[in-house]
Amino acid sequence: MAKMMYRDAVRNTIFQEMKRDDSVVVLGEDVVGGMGTPGGPEAIGGIWSTSTGLFGEFGADRVIDTPISESAIVGAAGGLALSGKRPIAELMFADFIGVSLDQIWNQIAKFRYMFGGKTKCPAIIRCIYGAGYNAAAQHSQSPHAILTGMPGLKVVMPSTPADVAGLLRQAIRDDDPVIFMEHKALYGVQGEVPDDPDFCIPFGHARLTRAGQDVTILATGMMVGMAESAADTLAENGIGCDVIDLRTTSPLDEEAILDSVEVTGRLVIVDEAPPRCSLATDLSALVAQKAFASLRAPIEMVTAPHTPIPFARELESAYLPNPDKIEAAVRKALAYN
C-alpha cells in the first residue's frame, strides 16, 4: 500500500496504464499546459495536476493538448476509440458536458448499439465535478444523473484514492465508454492505495463503508464522507447506519441497496445534485418498487435544492448537503412509526 492523494491516484493510474498499453491516449484542454507559451510544454501540466509528467514521458501523439473545443475533444475520443485506441479525454469541468453533449449522448454512447454490436468504443470521459470551491453555477455542478440515464454509458464516481485507482484502471481496460467523475473537492484527500499494478475494482459493486442495523444511507463522491461523518456521530448515540458508497451509478449495485434496506427498513439518500429527475429520485423509485414491503418509514432525500449553485460561501454551504442535514434526515426516518 502507498499513501497518496486522490489526484495522484488519477495521475499514477493513467501513467501506469499508458506504460502498460501503447493504445492508451490522453487528450484535453491543458493536459500538457503551456503549449505555445514562453513557459513551454508542461509549464502547467493540467490544472488539476492529474496529467503532470505524462507529456514528457509519452510525447505529443499520445498526450494531446487540445484547444478549448469540448465537442471535438469528446468526438475525437470517439474516433480514436473506433480506431483501436483507448482514449482518456478530460473535461476540465463536468459542467462543460453541455458543450459536448451530442458527442457523448448521440455518438459514443450509441455507436455499439446503432452499429449492431459490431464495434467497441473504449473511450473514457473524465469529468471533474462538484461543489466546494465557491466556483458558482457553471463550475460546480454534479451532472451524473443525466449521464446515468443514458444507455450505453457507464458512470463511475469514486470517493477515495483507492477507489480512484481501482475504478480508473477498470475503466481504462473496459471496452465500453465510461464517464469517470472526479470530485474536485476530493483531490487533496489522502488514502492508502494498493501497489498491485493490476488492481481493478469491477463496476457495479458498491462499498459498505459503515455498518449498522437502523438506517441505510446511500451516497456517492463527496457525499460519502459526509454520510460517514453523520453515521459516526449517530453511532455515538446508539444509532447504527449502513453507509453504502455506490461507486458506480451505471451499472448500479441494486442488490447491495435492497439487501441493506431489507434489514434496516429505513433509507436516506444523499445526493449533491438538485432533487428532480435525479439519482436520488431514481434510487428512491428502485427501493419503492423492489423493497416496498421492507420499508418502515418514507424514504428521505438529502439533496441540493432545485436552484442553480450560488457563489457566496454562506450560500454554497446552504445549498450543499452536510452531515447535520444527513443526521437530521436519519433521525426523521427513525422517528416515523
Partner: protein
C-alpha cells in the same frame, strides 16, 4: 491521371450501384415497405466514389445522414445494407441502425450519422489514431475523411474539428459536398459568407482544393493530390466539391423550394454518371457495350439484394436488449 480500363469500369460500377440502389429505394419507399427516414445521395455519386477509390480499409471515413453513397463506395456489402434498410436482423447493423446509422468499422466506415455536423470531430480522432500509428513502409500515413455538406459546414463541431486537426497536424481530410441545399434552405442564405466553403477551411489554416463534384475525373484527380499531401504528413486538408442532389432532403420532401425546371436541368447537365459515360466513350476508354453490361449486372445485383432483404430474418423483441454494452 489516366485510370486503367479496369479501374474505370470499377468506378463506374460503384457509381451505378449507388444510383440503382437508391432509385430502387425511392420507388420502394412509396409502397410503405421501408420504415423510417431515408435521405438519398443520388446525383453526388462521383464524389463518394472519386474519393473512396483511393482508400484502403485502414483509411477511415465518417459519413452523414445522406450516407448510402459513402457506405457503398467504401465497400459496405450491398445486401447487408439493403437488409439493414429493410430492418432485418441480418442487416449490417442487425436492424438497430437503419439508413442513417449504417457502419462497417472493419471496412473503415465509421458510420453514417443522423446528427448534421457530428462526424468531423470523430474523423479527427480517427486521424489522430492514424498519426499515432505512423507511416507505412512507403512512408505514407493512413487518413481519416469527414464527409460534410453545406449544412454541416455551419455547425460549430465542424469548426472545432477543423481547428483541432490543424493544431494537432492530424491526417484528416474534410470533404465538403456542396449540393446547394441544407435540408430545404439554400446555400446563398445559410452560408453567411455567400462564398464557397473551402475558404472557411482555408481560414483555419489548412490547404484547400476545389473541384466539380459532378466530374468523376476531376474528383479523382483532385483527391490524388490531396491524399499525396496529407499522407506525407503535412497535416489536414479540405476539398469542396460542387455537386447536385437529385432528390429532396428526405424521401417525401415535396421540394417546393426548387426552381422551375431545375431538376430536369441538373439531370440533363450535371448528372455525374451520364457525364462519365459520355467522356469515357468519347475518349474511347470504354465502349457503350461495356457500360451497358455493367448496368445490367448492377441491376441484377440490386434486384437480388432486395429479394434477399425481403426474405431476411426479422429481428426479435428480445434483440432490443442486446449490444448496448459489451459487459454490464
Amino acid at each position: 491521371m489516366q485510370l486503367s480500363r479496369e479501374d474505370l469500369l470499377q468506378a463506374y460500377r460503384r457509381m451505378k450501384t449507388i444510383r440503382a440502389f437508391e432509385e430502387l429505394l425511392h420507388d420502394e419507399i412509396q409502397t410503405g415497405e421501408i420504415a423510417g427516414f431515408t435521405h438519398l445521395y443520388c446525383g453526388q455519386e462521383a464524389v463518394a466514389v472519386g474519393v473512396c477509390e483511393h482508400l484502403s480499409d485502414d483509411d477511415k471515413i465518417v459519413s452523414t445522414h445522406r450516407g448510402h453513397g459513402h457506405c457503398l463506395a467504401k465497400g459496405c456489402d450491398v445486401e447487408g445494407m439493403m437488409k439493414e434498410i429493410w430492418g432485418s436482423r441480418e442487416g449490417l447493423c442487425k436492424g438497430k441502425g437503419g439508413s442513417m446509422h449504417i457502419a462497417d468499422v472493419d471496412k473503415g466506415m465509421l458510420g453514417a450519422n443522423g446528427i448534421v455536423g457530428a462526424g468531423a470531430p470523430i474523423a479527427v480522432g480517427a486521424a489522430m489514431a492514424a498519426k499515432i500509428d505512423g507511416p507505412d513502409a512507403n512512408g505514407k500515413l493512413k487518413v481519416a475523411i469527414a464527409f460534410s455538406g453545406d449544412g454541416a459546414c455551419n455547425q460549430g463541431t465542424t469548426f472545432e474539428a477543423m481547428n483541432m486537426a490543424v493544431v494537432t497536424k492530424a491526417p484528416a481530410i474534410f470533404v465538403f459536398e456542396n449540393n446547394h441545399y441544407s435540408e430545404h434552405t439554400g446555400f446563398e442564405y445559410a452560408v453567411g459568407t455567400q462564398r464557397d466553403i473551402a475558404s472557411r477551411a482555408e481560414a483555419f489554416g489548412m490547404r484547400v482544393w476545389r473541384a466539380d463534384g459532378t466530374d468523376f475525373s476531376a474528383v479523382h484527380d483532385t483527391m490524388s493530390e490531396v491524399l499525396e499531401y496529407v499522407r506525407a504528413g503535412n497535416g489536414p486538408a479540405a476539398v469542396e466539391f460542387d455537386t447536385e442532389r437529385f432528390y429532396g432532403h428526405f424521401e417525401g420532401d415535396p421540394q417546393r423550394y426548387r426552381a422551375k425546371g431545375e431538376l430536369d436541368r441538373i439531370r440533363e447537365e450535371r448528372d455525374c454518371i451520364k457525364k462519365f459515360r459520355e467522356s469515357a466513350t468519347e475518349a474511347k476508354l470504354l465502349d457503350g457495350a461495356d457500360l451497358d453490361q455493367v448496368d445490367a449486372e448492377v441491376a441484377q445485383a440490386i434486384e437480388k439484394a432486395v429479394v434477399a432483404a425481403r426474405a431476411a430474418e426479422r429481428p426479435k423483441a428480445e434483440d432490443v436488449l442486446v449490444d448496448v454494452y459489451i459487459d454490464y
